[in-house]
Amino acid sequence: MASVSLEGVSKRFGATRAVENVSLTVADGEFFALLGPSGCGKTTLLRLVAGFEAPDAGTVRLANEVVSLSGWALPPEERRIGMVFQSYALWPNMSVAENVAFSLRVRRVASDERKRRVATALAMVGLEAMAKRRPHELSGGQRQRVALARCLAMRPAIVLLDEPLANLDVHLREAMQQEFARFHREIGATFIYVTHDQAEAMALANRVVVMNDGRVEQAAAPQALYREPATEMVARFVGHGMVVPVEIIGREGPRMLVDLWGVRIAVRGEGDAGECRSLCLHAENLVLTSQTTSAIQGRVVASAYQGAATVLTIQPNAANAPQLRVEHASAPPAVGASVAVAVRDGWIIRNTA
């Protein structure tokens, strides 16, 4: 019913290419996250969906109807989209209840129906008691809830969320994340959630698209994004992946044998023997070992205690090798000690730069 699809969408501002030939489909009812570093074009993409910007090229469809073409956009007020802003965007001249009721009043919803829906929306976010307050009398978390209630009251089929947690304290963020997940389950609308925080995106979304420099790097479920990154950028951006150069030796059962700094290791992925590719490693794939064969020799250069584990930074002895991060649970070796690192798992990146 309310899928969102973009086809070859591009948008420039002067010389800057904010969004470059992006094609995406968000299924009806999906919780979809737009993830990327600041300036990657994710907010522009959201504004293209909302109708605040018209694309220079490409088509935007909402529920299979064309709403934007190159140079034309159906005005936002005719799209029936709900949005939660980073700044909350509560109108300071209206009370909490008036804020929530605004879109219903604009749409001429009858007075008693309107009151009922405002009360329901406020009850859903637990702010019935605050109906008569002004926005400036509320805390940050309460304002966020009002913004959400305002969005819910209009019963949108599509909800856009633009970094909604960026202005909140860390402990409030977790609580609000759970609220968002609950609302998504309860109202069944399509959610598009913009964030630069990969942990937030992975925790909430069914599917995440990673953007960089206005382009889509990869769109996939969180697990696939983490375990099978399509590009080096995704590997590094999601889950602090490390990227190292390998040469493919050949297939060994379900896995691939590769050569990393003269050490043979078995990893996941595809490739042809003799190819030079990039490998994505995560800290939990690496363990210290007493073996000397088939392990990477190096030296501990830093050690950071983090409670459950100590994160060791290891400089391999191989020439020009990037540093590796290893999570070590038992008593850590001293800084400067020589160690051997075994690789348990890794992923051969398809599009090696």
């Binding site: 007020e77 965007a89 300071p92 879109s103 604009v106």
Partner: protein, 571 residues
């Protein structure tokens, strides 16, 4: 090796730096108290004296019982209120179109909309007289019939010209209010389903209302204190306002009626204070969250061209046409002779610049006064703003607050206060400033300090305190730090403020009309008297020159890199 930390040297250093700070604050305090606090306090005292029979508030009551005073009070409130309506109408329309839509040529339109701000009110009045007089409109067949009085010499003339002159104040206030509106608030309303006009009604207007009210209050207060327009239009039209009543009183009877005039001035001042209180309440408004990105302009679509043309026409009629009429009048050979290419003459400029002694003197006097006031005020504002913002000195903050008073009260009120204090011979010197150019200078120094103090305070607020502290740790004294660290970072704003003072003082009339004496004329006074002597072409020539000087200075100030709002006419 000498130990720099020995107890003796440390305490000497501390003493020296403390005493230079104390000296600085004491000097600033004396300056501000003598110029700003004392005269206004004296005015209060004088106006509240008992009457001749010793009755309580006798002077005040006697003055305000007079029918002339009551009529002038009613006229002042009436004309100012009506003029404010005109100002709000023009200012709001222009501000909404320029701040919220994608109308073409915003920079040029903004400059034209703010032209009345750069033209002093007596010259605006003169320009409108020329525009509506027969010599300019005759070729168009629009002139009033010969022999009839110009319709501008009336209440409605004052309302129209004053309304236009002060529309810039409303425009600036509303534009600033609209600029602070976060884009998110408008976008949230549109996603809620509201069309642009509904967004304007439900969100933009309610949020801009405090700014509109504040602008209206400011326009009202400025109208109450205006002298140039009621002097040129109201005196011949027999429509007396408080400023012109006080002027005529003092002109007619001289300093011996000072006490009575002070009572009238106190009433005028009270009216202004009431307006300013209204403004202070209005600006409180709603707490708007410091926002997201700036507003996206609304698209006018097909109406874009039509709206732009209509706005151009309106602004040209109210801001440009009068100045063209003024220029035409200055080139015409004599009153009433139609201006054509073959009759145009520079004789009026020759007369004003080379032949008439009073005018030549006035140029020199006004230049000297404006220049001295600008330089002295800037030199006072720099340390005062530094102590008030960077050092959070309580005395400096108090001085900063009271320094606004002489600019906030009508010029007429300040001039009376200055006469009260500086008419008697100065202590020790045994000479009176009255009748010298000195009294005008004192009044200007009092009145215009705020004009450079505001931008300097604003710029100082943006300077990182650690710059000053780093220089202090490096061992620099207060004066050294002001010169080497603070001045370089706030210089553009200080200079812009000084230019603003120069432009305002160079054309000043309200204060100097009450303080001038023969040989000590200012340009404003000369324009005024030439017009009254019936030599309108010469008055127009002098006015045209001073407008040209002001515009040139405005252009110069525009090129500085300044914090927003320091030079208001910049888009």
């Amino acid at each position: 090796m000498v130990n720099a930390y020995s107890a003796g040297s440390l305490s000497t250093v501390r003493k020296r730096s403390a005493s230079s700070g104390v000296f600085l604050i004491a000097a600033l305090a004396i300056y501000v108290v003598v110029l700003a606090v004392w005269p206004l306090a004296r005015l209060f005292y004088e106006a509240l004296l008992p009457g001749r029979g010793g009755e309580l508030l006798g002077v005040l009551l006697a003055q305000w019982r007079a029918p002339a005073a009551q009529a002038a009070l009613i006229n002042t409130i009436e004309a100012s209120a009506l003029a404010t309506l005109v100002s709000v109408t023009i200012g709001v329309i222009v501000a909404f179109l320029l701040a919220l839509t994608d109308i073409r040529g915003k920079a040029a339109l903004t400059f034209i909309a703010l032209l009345p701000l750069l033209v002093p009110s007596q010259i605006t009045a003169l320009a409108w007289i020329e525009l509506t007089s027969s010599s300019v409109l005759a070729p168009l067949g629009l002139a009033p019939a010969p022999g009839t009085t110009n319709p501008l010499y009336s209440k409605w003339g004052i309302v129209l010209v004053m309304g236009i002159e002060h529309s810039t104040l409303v425009f600036l206030a509303v534009r600033a209010g609209l600029r602070n509106l976060p884009r998110d608030l408008i976008e949230a309303a549109r996603l809620g389903g509201a069309h642009p006009l509904r967004v304007a009604r439900s969100v933009i207007v309610p949020l801009a209302l405090p700014a509109i009210l504040a602008g209206a209050a400011l326009a009202f207060v400025t109208s109450i204190g205006n002298f140039g327009i009621p002097a040129l239009l109201g005196i011949p039209g027999r429509y007396t306002m408080l400023t012109t009543l006080i002027y005529q009183h003092l002109q007619g009877f001289g300093p011996r009626v000072l006490g009575e005039v002070a009572a009238l001035a106190l009433g005028l001042g009270a009216l202004a204070v009431a307006g300013l209180l209204l403004r202070a309440i209005a600006v409180r408004g709603f707490a708007i969250e410091p926002g997201s990105a700036p507003l996206e302009p609304f698209r006018l679509g097909r109406a874009r061209m039509v709206v732009a043309v209509l706005l151009w026409i309106m602004l040209i009629i109210i801001a440009v046409m009068p100045l063209i009429a003024l220029l035409a009048a200055s080139l015409s050979p004599a009153l009433g002779v139609p201006l054509r290419f073959d009759t145009a003459t520079l004789a009026n400029y020759r007369f004003a610049l080379l032949e008439q002694d009073a005018t030549i003197r006035a140029f020199a006097n006004s230049f000297l006064l404006a220049f001295t006031t600008a330089v002295v005020s800037a030199s006072v504002a720099l340390p005062l703003a530094y102590l008030a913002t960077m050092r959070q000195n309580r005395i400096a903050r108090a001085l900063d607050a009271v320094a606004d008073a002489p600019y906030a009260v009508p010029g007429t009120v300040l001039a009376i206060a200055i006469i009260l204090v500086f008419l008697p011979p100065l202590p020790l010197l045994q000479v009176s400033l009255y009748g010298t150019i000195g009294i005008i200078l004192v009044a200007y120094l009092a009145r215009f300090l705020a004009l450079v103090l505001r931008p300097t305070m604003a710029a100082m607020g943006l300077v990182n305190k650690s710059l000053d502290e780093a220089a202090q740790i490096a061992g620099a004294s207060v004066l050294m730090r002001l010169r080497a660290v603070i001045l370089p970072s706030v210089a553009p704003s200080v200079v812009a403020g000084a230019l603003l003072i120069f432009m305002t003082a160079f054309n000043e009339l309200t204060v100097s009309a009450l303080l001038w004496s023969t040989g000590r004329e200012t340009l404003g006074v000369v324009v005024f008297s030439l017009h009254y002597e019936g030599n309108s072409p010469a008055a127009a020539a002098v006015a045209a020159i001073s407008v040209a000087v002001t515009l040139a200075l405005a252009m110069i100030a525009t090129t500085f890199r300044l914090p927003e709002g320091v030079v208001p006419w910049r888009a």
